[in-house]
């Protein structure tokens, strides 16, 4: 088991290195530099030279790459080019908690509501509740979150005036962005749970459980749910990734002061340190998340655990 975890950690570091390198290559492959895209205004040539020197952009690319890898290894990306008074780290520690909160709340809401919707649909397969739940799910999957966000703002902020249309200051302001971001993943989870639950309920061990006179509720919660969750767990990593990147768009629409603003701006303005820092930071989070998902899978399905033990 320790052996397994150790090898996974090694693979995770390798993945981060590959992502960091790719980011570096892509970043330098897109035309433009941090200094010639300033609102179309051209900087004085000496000023630009000085700036490039200051940020090591005058050095040959291999050297830049090494400097960059050093900053990845030490988690120190130096100051932003666009906001010279802030370091990349301070931008992350400033914006990320908000994004993280939005992402986490969204994930939890999506999982819980997707679970309830999916289980209800499965238990009432081909009945009214099933059709309602699956209609919601299809709508949820097909409406992009930014469209849903605009609809929600129009209805609940502008027309009804119940909830604020922007910011991240009270629970009220968190409701609409969370709904906008959670609906898609919720719908995916609900459909997946429905399918796998219907499948699980036909299994022999469910009949065994019923032959013991257990209540339908207990059978679903204890005997069926864990098995039905397995395919959802596999998908959780992808869903979380979708939610994380989704936060960028939603934050923009609701003017939420999270990472999204810095990330999008940094790409537009070729703010190299910020691009690199946030990309590596976000990929690290995703990789750790996928690792946790794998561990959860082993916990849910004891057969997996044994398999890994045998391999290592």
């Amino acid at each position: 088991m320790m052996n397994f975890i150790f090898r996974r950690l090694l693979a995770m570091l390798l993945t981060i290195w590959v992502i960091a390198t790719l980011t570096f290559i892509l970043m330098h492959a897109i035309p433009g530099s941090p200094f010639n895209s300033h609102n179309g205004k051209q900087l004085n040539e000496t000023v630009q030279k000085n700036m490039e020197m200051h940020y090591n952009l005058d050095k040959p690319l291999p050297i830049q790459y090494l400097i960059y890898m050093k900053s990845v290894a030490t988690f120190n990306y130096g100051p932003s080019i666009k906001h010279p008074n802030d370091t990349v780290n301070s931008l992350i520690s400033d914006g990320f908690p908000v994004s993280f909160e939005l992402g986490m709340i969204t994930l939890i809401v999506a999982i819980i509501s997707g679970l309830i919707l999916g289980v209800l649909a499965a238990l009432k397969a081909n009945h009214f509740i099933d059709y309602v739940a699956m209609t919601i799910a299809v709508l949820g999957i097909s409406i992009p979150n930014f469209v849903l966000a605009s609809l929600l703002i129009q209805e609940f902020s502008v027309n009804l005036g119940w909830l604020p249309p922007s910011m991240w200051t009270s629970w009220k302001s968190e409701v609409l962005p969370t709904i906008a971001l959670a609906t898609g993943p919720m719908a995916i989870i609900a459909r997946l749970i429905r399918t796998s639950m219907i499948e699980v309920l036909t299994q022999d061990y469910i009949r065994t459980a019923r032959s013991k006179g257990l209540s339908p509720f207990l059978i679903v919660m204890k005997h069926a749910l864990k098995n039905a969750l397995l395919p959802v767990i596999t998908l959780l990593g992808t869903l979380a990734a979708g939610i994380l990147t989704g936060t960028f768009v939603i934050e923009k629409i609701f003017a939420i002061p999270g990472m999204g603003k810095y990330f999008v701006d940094s790409i537009n303005s070729r703010d190299y340190p910020v691009i690199m820092g946030t990309t590596v930071f976000y990929s690290s989070i995703l990789i750790v998340l996928l690792f946790i998902v794998d561990m959860a899978y082993g916990w849910l399905d004891p057969r997996i655990k044994l398999h890994k033990k045998e391999v290592s």
Binding site: G213, L214, S215
Partner: protein
């Protein structure tokens, strides 16, 4: 003596796309206390469906359309599902065919073993666990403390079937239904499991319905035998009566195919032909297409039950006084 279970005129149908499958078409049988009844018949004749009906586990698209299942004076077909849950596992329990799929792969043996005691008998976890260890020792499982912590995939097939049996016994039911409990197991393990059933019965006086298509199992276990064909019980009697004094062409053909298997194993000749389509079962005897002694009346009219001797009855037109000649022919034949 009042029987423990009495099944009367039980009819079970399944609504399918092409129409209605008449899976069980009016069966009657009883089981006394401490008795073992074997239900035999080819695959698809309605053995499993009948046992599931007794357990209250027939669900959509299946339905009990007629008849009653009287257990200890109560008609189980009239109970609500909530009332039926008080019978399941407590009064009647079931052992299924395939121990590889009958246990939940994600739950420990302990959690599956004691849940009946905890949720049905409201025992504390501690007491239930003690009980579980006792039952595991009973069914011949060594290191029961260890086993409780394990998951099904960590155990062999025979071991799992012992667990399933322990699970069925843990609430001390009066009736155990075992649906082909050895079919999925190795031959050596099969014998052990059958021995286990016998010792359990000696110890507890439990009544057993054993469902099988293996006449070897019947010979070892049964007190009485019910032979099923196409949703009906065509012959019913004590083991001796059915094995040595059967007068039903189907039963005799069934017994004969085993004898042939023993003598020249390469020339096993099961009964030629196949059972009728249960979407539209024949008006008369369902065996008519395969029966070498079939008469004109057989295909037209369902034969009534006739009593050969005390406790031994069959459904066959050959018992009619007008068929004496054909009956003699049958008794003289190899079949």
């Amino acid at each position: 003596m009042e029987p423990l279970l009495e099944v009367k005129q039980l009819h079970i149908q399944f609504q399918a796309h092409g129409g209605t499958v008449k899976a069980v078409r009016g069966i009657d049988f009883t089981i006394g206390k401490g008795e073992t009844l074997a239900i035999v018949g080819e695959s698809g004749c309605g053995k499993s469906v009948s046992s599931l009906a007794i357990m209250g586990l027939i669900d959509h698209p299946g339905k009990i359309t007629n008849g009653s299942i009287i257990f200890k004076g109560k008609d189980l077909t009239r109970l609500t599902s909530k009332e039926m849950r008080k019978v399941q596992g407590i009064d009647i329990s079931m052992v299924f065919q395939d121990p590889m799929t009958a246990l939940n792969p994600t739950l420990t043996i302990e959690s599956q073993l004691i849940e009946g005691l905890i949720h049905q008998k409201k025992m504390s976890k501690r007491v239930a666990k003690k009980e579980a260890i006792k039952v595991l020792e009973w069914v011949g499982i060594s290191n029961p403390h260890e086993r409780l912590k394990q998951y099904p995939h960590q155990l062999s097939g025979g071991m799992r079937q012992r667990i399933v049996i322990a699970m069925a016994l843990i609430c001390e039911p009066d009736l155990l239904i075992a649906d082909e409990p050895t079919t999925a197991l190795d031959v050596t393990i099969q014998a052990q499991i059958l021995d286990l059933f016998e010792s359990i019965q000696k110890r507890t006086g439990i009544s057993i319905v054993i469902i099988t298509h293996d006449l070897g199992v019947v010979a070892k276990m049964a007190d009485r035998i019910a032979v099923m064909y196409a949703g009906r019980i065509v012959e019913m009697g004590s083991k001796r009566q059915v094995f040595y004094h059967s007068e039903h062409p189907y039963t005799r053909a069934l017994l004969n195919s085993v004898v042939r298997l023993d003598q020249t194993s390469h020339s096993l000749k099961p009964i030629e032909g196949s059972p009728p389509d249960l979407f539209s079962p024949p008006k008369g005897c369902a065996f008519v297409d395969r029966c070498p002694f079939a008469m004109e009346v057989c295909g037209r009219v369902q034969p009534q039950k006739s009593r050969l001797r005390e406790g031994h009855q069959i459904e066959c037109w050959l018992q009619d006084t007008r068929a004496v000649a054909v009956r003699k022919e049958m008794l003289a034949s190899q079949l």
